[in-house]
């Protein structure tokens, strides 16, 4: 078990190192000077732009040799210093990110967990059951092929604008202050529901298809046939099949994380939900490079941590990794 987790941790550390290097290198490798471009865009007068340039050059540490810039980048990162924001003057990137992360997590965590559970259940039920299979499977294929932002647009248009069942944008009513009151909670939940539903539905389709195929595969295997030949009830055979099918689904969960995070970003943009996605679009529109780089790192770190959690869960579920039988 320790060997398995150690291997994984090594891979994640290496990935993190790789990602930080990319994050550092991209602005420096790209054609054109991002700082000049930035200053041209801000269109300040000449003295102010000189000052700004000096300030940005210093923040980037561009007057130092490359290797020192790289080390400085790491040092800043390890101290949680991601630089100042250009779009939100006066705020640091870390402050902005910490303010946005809870909202994104509030969407992502329930959506991932619930869609995984529900998708697996429905997929397992649909396998080898004609009527359910012929109705649930096409729906699942449509859902998994739907672009997140489009489903968000459709839900927002019909449920919020047309029928007025849900509020349109934001995370809570503007007249309210975040607090633990009943009124605020209700407002928060009604704003939260549609973006959550978008993420839930698209991911749900993928899990249902995956589970259905895995269950069919398991039901064809020797042990399932043997159990059936012994006269074991179908329910029991299906239960064993489910237990075995959960394992590849869990590996799939780790791989799907990146896609769901991407989905959350565009969904937030459609609903104006104040999470990471909305921050990214502001960063892009204002050419706030510090913010962009900080968000990039945040997403990478988040996905790596989530991967690690899935790995630990895998160890708990699969006795083979615990006993060290399986080297993967």
């Amino acid at each position: 078990m320790t060997r398995y987790l150690a291997r994984k941790s090594f891979l994640y550390l290496l990935t993190f190192f790789f990602a930080v290097t990319i994050d550092w290198a991209i602005p420096r490798l790209m054609p054109g000077d991002p700082i000049d471009g930035l200053i041209a865009r801000i269109q300040a007068d000449s003295t102010a732009s000189q000052e700004l340039k000096g300030y940005v050059t210093e923040s980037f540490g561009l007057d130092q040799p490359r290797w020192r810039q790289y080390l400085n980048f790491w040092r800043g990162l390890l101290h949680g210093d991601l630089g100042p924001s250009i779009a939100y003057v006066g705020s640091t990137v870390s402050e902005l990110i910490w303010a946005a992360v809870p909202y994104t997590l509030a969407l992502l965590v329930p959506a991932i967990v619930l869609s995984y559970i529900a998708g697996n259940r429905v997929g397992a039920m649909a396998a080898r059951r004609k009527v359910l299979d012929n109705t649930a499977l096409p729906v699942a294929y449509v859902l998994t092929a739907t672009p997140y932002m489009w489903l968000a647009l459709v839900l927002a248009y019909f449920l919020a604008f047309k029928w007025g069942l849900f509020p349109v944008s934001g995370a809570y009513d503007f007249s309210l202050q975040p607090s633990w009151t009943w009124e605020f909670t209700r407002s928060f939940l009604s704003h939260w529901f549609l973006p959550f539903l978008t993420l839930f539905l698209v991911s749900f389709g993928g899990w249902a298809i995956g589970m259905r195929n895995l269950i069919i595969y398991e039901l064809e295997s020797e042990y399932a046939n043997y159990l059936q030949a012994l006269g074991a009830p179908t329910k029991l055979v299906r239960k064993y099949a489910y237990n075995n099918a959960v394992l590849p689904q869990m590996s799939g969960l780790a791989l799907a994380l990146g896609a769901v995070v991407g989905g959350a970003l565009v969904t937030e943009i459609v609903f104006g939900y104040p999470g990471i996605g909305t921050l990214i679009i502001t960063a892009l529109q204002n050419r706030d490079y510090f913010l962009m780089q900080g968000l990039f790192l945040l997403i990478i770190i988040g996905v790596l941590i989530a991967n690690f959690i899935v790995d630990i869960a895998y160890v708990i579920v699969d006795p083979r990794t615990r006993a060290g039988i399986q080297g993967s």
Binding site: V154, M292, I300
Partner: protein, 313 residues
């Protein structure tokens, strides 16, 4: 897997005879019979037929659709926010652009980007998968490590940061970017297949007879997993269409080329939701869902056609 396919038992015998006979004797008759058999299953596979029909419908629309309109997708000057009518088939935008023109040109972009990105990703995935799976050892370890690293990094995050600095100007560069980031799972899958094929007797024989590595891979290994490679390309295509739409939606695609994602982007930023201009943002999403969903369903159908084991279940 589906319930509507014919029983495979009827044709199980000719297939057995074919494989048992080897390639030498029945060279004239066998491939013909086999091809007919595959076609037979292809046309009787509901999933394949449905998926292919949907994808072909949009492909044909992308090819001939622009011929039915004189409008330029970026051209202004049409009535503002008109719903679909006989004159404006899909209505107009709030700033007076023809939605039909945007839609059909956007479809073209989707197919172009999807195809190029799939080929780029396929080429990288195959190279890494073949080399890693064939040679094994340290080379495989290094390539697997690289694959796993790129696999864990969320593609969209990388694309956002690269596209933000690079200012993607054409469909080609967008497709290239997507292709360069979407290959890892393909590489992993192809590596696993190659690994098992590389240990087979016919591969050993080819190696013993002194053939070069490239020839062994190209002539012995690749043809034996050609259907698998084809399925991989289809999935890469579908994934690339989705990724491109997301990038375009974020405004990171080429701004001079109309795309389905860009339609949704401008619809959102010009308050199409608030104004109730549903014809502006509904069609592009239906097309993407149709193309990608069609490809996925087609993929399952093809899998059943290529793989006899899946047929009669």
């Amino acid at each position: 897997m589906s319930t509507l396919e014919p029983k495979a038992d009827l044709v199980a015998t000719p297939e057995l005879a074919l494989t048992g006979d080897g390639a030498g004797k029945t060279d004239l008759g066998a491939p013909r019979g086999k091809r007919f058999e595959t076609l037979h299953f292809a046309f009787h596979n509901t999933k394949l037929v449905i998926g292919l029909t949907v994808v072909l419908f949009f492909l044909v629309l992308a090819i001939v659709g622009p011929l039915f309109t004189d409008a330029d997708p970026f051209e202004f000057g049409y009535p503002l926010g008109v719903p679909p009518s006989t004159e404006y088939w899909l209505g107009t935008t709030s700033s007076g652009q023809d939605v039909y023109a945007q839609f059909v040109y956007g479809l073209r972009s989707s197919f172009v980007v999807g195809a190029i990105a799939a080929l780029v990703a396929g080429a990288i995935g195959m190279s890494i998968g073949f080399v890693g799976g064939y040679f094994g050892g340290v080379i495989d370890e290094v390539l697997s490590m690289l694959t796993n690293i790129v696999l864990v990094i969320p593609t969209l995050a990388v694309l956002i940061i690269v596209a933000a600095y690079l200012e993607v100007g054409s469909l080609w560069s967008e497709a290239l970017l997507i292709g360069l980031t979407s290959w890892p799972w393909a590489a992993r899958a192809i590596r696993a297949q190659t690994f098992s094929l590389a240990a087979r007797d016919f591969v050993n024989l080819a190696r013993l007879s002194g053939r070069g590595t490239t020839r062994v891979i190209v002539n012995e290994i690749a043809p034996n997993m050609s259907s698998y490679l084809f399925l991989t390309l289809i999935l890469l295509f579908g994934g690339s269409v989705l990724t491109a739409a997301t990038l375009d939606f974020l405004g990171l695609g080429p701004s001079q080329v109309m795309s389905l994602g860009l339609m949704m982007n401008t619809a959102v930023s010009n308050a199409a939701l608030q104004l109730g201009l549903w014809w502006w943002f509904i069609p592009p999403g239906i097309a993407i869902t149709g193309i990608v969903g069609g490809l996925y369903v087609m993929n399952v159908g093809l899998d059943e056609v290529f793989n006899p084991k899946l047929r009669n279940t």
